[in-house]
């Protein structure tokens, strides 16, 4: 395994900049902070797991690595240390379950009405909390019933146009196929043919829950499916910022996968907004936008920031007349993928998100934009607004909501936990 991750700890000068940004250590003493748990504790770990479990309280948001001026891979060190911890102690059943969105998706989709009822029923959630350890109030999306994969098979786009490959991720497939439809609509509007390969989970939830072997299996399977397209020179776009980052960087840096297929896929990966902005810079993005008189706060999720591409969503949405975006300055919403679902971490996750929620509320808008799906569910839950992917605003800005209405229902926002 490549060890530039661990070796980077020697660059730590103990400046505490990561400590001043860590959203978790600011709200709980259970996590002593990225510097202590990362570069400092790592010196003592050697081949053994951490003697204490505090590393499990790292949410993996990655802000520490982004702000570190010395290029210490703090979050990555912590991610590996967590995997080592669970490797020795055994990954708990709960973490095994919530880390497999495709399994949950396949189970829930055929029985969506029943599953959705159960997911949002207080009594059921209470039982789930005490038996499995998923917090009763944690935000849960609703199964759409028909997957995006299935919908995309029915769709026939333009036959002879430049092709782009769409990696939609599990969130879009099982819970928000409407987002996928909007992605396809916008890409086709800009003159692309959209290829939707068969695809599975990228392994990120397994990685962040410390099951590296299973994560590697998933990401390799996904890479196998994407690599032929990448080798053909096609760009691959993803509207899931964290899954896209997995393919861009984390599969190599954290899971240590080092092969040509992954390299070619990494090199072809674009975040959706990054790709559209690139098209715009080339003068190849249609700009026939209509007026969209809305004021929308925008949260760039922590994983989006990890791409190092700035905030292309804001550059794109600036093209839509009368759309006023408010850039929020909060690093993390707290959910961090599956972190905030866990019984023992839900309160931490909500405390982390508190400032984001209140900043959104302060704008007075009933809609907020954010690139990452789990963050949108957390924002909808914490700030009581409709949270949309920026593509939805572009889609509406193009007037496609009238000309090309989506088929996948009106809203995939998590319903309030009722009854």
């Amino acid at each position: 395994m490549n060890d530039f991750i661990r070796d980077s700890l020697d660059h730590c000068v103990k400046c505490t900049i990561c400590e001043s940004y860590c959203p978790v250590s600011q709200v709980t003493p259970l996590f002593p902070g990225p510097k202590y748990v990362g570069p400092q504790a790592e010196r003592y770990r050697g081949t053994d797991a951490s003697p204490d479990k505090s590393v499990d309280y790292c949410s993996g948001c990655g802000i520490c690595t982004q702000v570190c001026p010395q290029d210490v891979k703090i979050a990555e060190i912590n991610s590996r240390a967590r995997a080592k911890l669970w490797e020795q102690r055994g990954v708990p059943l709960r973490n095994q379950l919530i880390a497999r969105p495709t399994v949950i998706g396949r189970l829930g989709t055929p029985v969506a009405p029943v599953a959705n009822w159960a997911l949002h029923n207080r009594a059921v959630r209470g039982v789930v909390e005490s038996v499995i350890g998923i917090h009763r109030d944690a935000p849960m999306p609703s199964f759409a019933g028909t997957t995006f994969q299935k919908r995309s098979r029915r769709h026939h786009g333009p036959a002879d146009a430049p092709a782009v490959v769409y990696f939609h991720g599990c969130g879009t497939n099982y819970y928000e196929p409407r987002v996928g439809e909007m992605v396809v609509a916008v890409l086709e509007h800009s003159g692309f043919r959209v290829i939707v390969p068969e695809q599975d989970c990228c392994g990120l939830p397994l990685q962040s829950n410390g099951n590296f072997p299973a994560a590697r299996t998933y990401v390799r399977r996904l890479v196998d499916r994407l690599a032929p397209h990448a080798r053909a020179g096609l760009p691959i776009v993803s509207n899931s910022t964290s899954c896209g980052l997995m393919l861009k960087r984390e599969a190599h840096e954290i899971l240590g996968i080092d092969d040509e297929d992954l390299k070619v896929v990494s090199g072809s990966m674009y975040d959706l907004c990054e790709f559209l902005l690139r098209q715009h810079e080339r003068g190849e993005l249609r700009t026939d936008f209509e007026s969209l008189p809305l004021t929308v706060p925008y949260h760039a999720p922590c994983q989006q920031r990890g791409h190092g591409i700035g905030k292309p969503a804001l550059d794109l949405l600036a093209l839509v007349p009368d759309l006023h975006m408010i850039e929020l300055d909060v690093d993390c919403c707290g959910i961090a993928g599956t972190y905030g679902l866990k019984k023992e971490k839900y309160e931490i996750s909500m405390a982390v998100g508190k400032r984001l929620f209140s900043d959104i509320t302060a704008t007075g808008s009933d809609i907020a934009a954010c690139d990452s799906e789990t963050c949108r569910w957390q924002i909808a839950h914490g700030a009581a607004v409709t949270a949309v992917h920026p593509i939805e605003l572009l889609y509406r800005g193009y007037g496609l909501d009238r000309r090309r209405p989506i088929t996948a229902g009106v809203s995939a926002q998590p319903a309030a936990v009722n009854g």
Partner: protein, 427 residues
């Protein structure tokens, strides 16, 4: 994406340059490996505190003496008027930090370990700590807050060389409902913002301090509303209250970073952290584009001008390798103050005049890095902050002054490319 200017570095110099350029209508991109030294420094603007071993009372008056001893100092390219212009602009762009002071006069503020430190511009929450007039001081610590020890401060201050008599005592308070374990400054500041610790502090200090005592509290009065909290303390107690900078992380430094970046964001400037500027595309002696490495590799950003504010050794703008070779890490610029290929020699004592401390880039009066022939390496590349050679900021107490003044001057040079170079008025 193409920009009018790409700024490399998100420390004080880079942010000042970026904000000045943005304010003047430029489209600016800020890229940095991470957050800069704002979070480590107390947010005071120290223009010039010492020339040799002599404490400076007026930076403007002491400039000639500084330049006589350090002829390659970055200040040689700035007159006292230009210094003052940059600092005045900064004072109106620092949000609620509300700087007070001037280049004509240093105040003396106590550090966290009780050393009197000269500064020209200070946030108004700190200004009340000026030791020059003397007085009865009480320093307040919070139980569990590990980065501020009032007894140490008071003890050292009693032994310091000061222009007027100062007495100092220590007081430790326990904030209500403190979480167990060590508290960081950031956590305590957060509690001032959200848990109303300010009201508690007024009550706690009212009976434990005398009306003529000047109260020094650690600079953790909040991240968002520190100014209001400080004001409430002064009016509630009817006593002079001031913040003392703590060990890092520096809460006032974070406030300053937040104030500058918030203005940049409001003006649509993109600040990208965790990426590395790694070279340039050059044509006819100009940088046409800067290469920025993100998660998948380098992306080229066409630009009209570049500000290099990547910092010195501590921030990775300069690098000394194990063979003794020093290099500038972004554009591989020629350096001054380095010993070439020879093995670097260090002076014997840690606090001695270390030759390498002055390493950095040399510039022309427009702050463009120059080669050995004195000509600009690139016509549109300007440097600011700790990457500039010729200074020993930690000894001179000039680091933040250099950053603000050269950040502003670099922006001015870009905004008025055809203006006559300013004569070296103070040399």
């Amino acid at each position: 994406m193409s920009y009018d200017t790409v700024v490399v570095g998100a420390g004080l110099a880079g942010l000042v340059a970026a904000l000045r350029l943005t304010e003047q209508g430029q489209r600016v991109l800020v890229v940095a490996r991470g957050v800069g030294a704002t979070h480590l420094a107390p947010a005071t603007i120290d223009v010039l505190g010492y020339v040799g071993e002599t404490r400076v009372e007026s930076p403007a008056a002491a400039l000639p003496a500084l330049l006589a001893g350090s002829p390659d100092h970055p200040y040689r390219h700035l007159s006292a008027e230009r210094l003052a212009a940059g600092l005045a602009w900064f004072g109106t762009h620092a949000g609620t930090l509300g700087y007070t002071g001037s280049v004509d006069e240093n105040v003396l503020l106590p550090t966290a370990i009780g050393v009197p430190k000269p500064s020209a511009f200070v946030p108004r929450t700190m200004a009340g700590g000026d030791l020059r007039a003397g007085g009865r001081f009480v320093f307040v610590g919070f139980k569990g807050f590990k980065d501020f020890h009032p007894a140490l401060l008071a003890d050292n201050l009693a032994r310091a060389r000061l222009p007027a008599p100062v007495t100092a005592r220590a007081l430790v308070l326990e904030p209500p409902a403190s979480p167990r374990g060590d508290l960081s400054g950031r956590v305590v500041a957060g509690r001032f913002d959200t848990d109303g610790l300010g009201d508690w502090l007024i009550g706690a200090l009212d009976k434990r301090t005398d009306p003529d005592e000047i109260i020094g509290v650690p600079a953790v009065l909040g991240l968002r509303d520190a100014d209001a909290t400080w004001h409430a303390l002064e009016t509630g107690l009817e006593r002079k209250v001031f913040e003392v900078a703590t060990l890092p992380p520096s809460v006032p430094g974070i406030r300053l970073f937040d104030a500058l970046t918030q203005q940049l964001r409001e003006r649509g400037t993109s600040i990208v952290l965790g990426v590395r500027a790694a070279g340039a595309r050059v044509k006819d002696g100009r940088i046409e584009a800067v290469d920025v490495s993100n998660a998948t590799g380098p992306v080229s950003h066409p630009t009209g001008a570049v500000v290099l504010a990547s910092g010195g050794f501590a921030s990775g703008g300069l690098e000394l390798d194990s063979f003794g070779v020093t290099r500038e890490t972004v554009f591989d610029l020629p350096l001054v103050g380095v010993s070439g290929s020879e093995r670097v020699r260090f002076a014997a004592g840690y606090f001695d005049d270390q030759p390498l401390a002055r390493a950095g880039v040399a510039t022309d009066d427009r702050l463009r890095p120059v080669g050995p022939d004195g000509h600009p390496v690139y016509a549109n590349l300007h440097a600011a902050g700790a990457i500039l050679g010729g200074a020993v900021p930690w000894k001179e107490k000039s680091g933040t002054g250099i950053s603000v003044a050269t950040g502003y001057a670099a922006a001015e040079a870009i905004l008025a490319p055809n203006a006559q170079p300013v004569p070296e008025a103070v040399r």
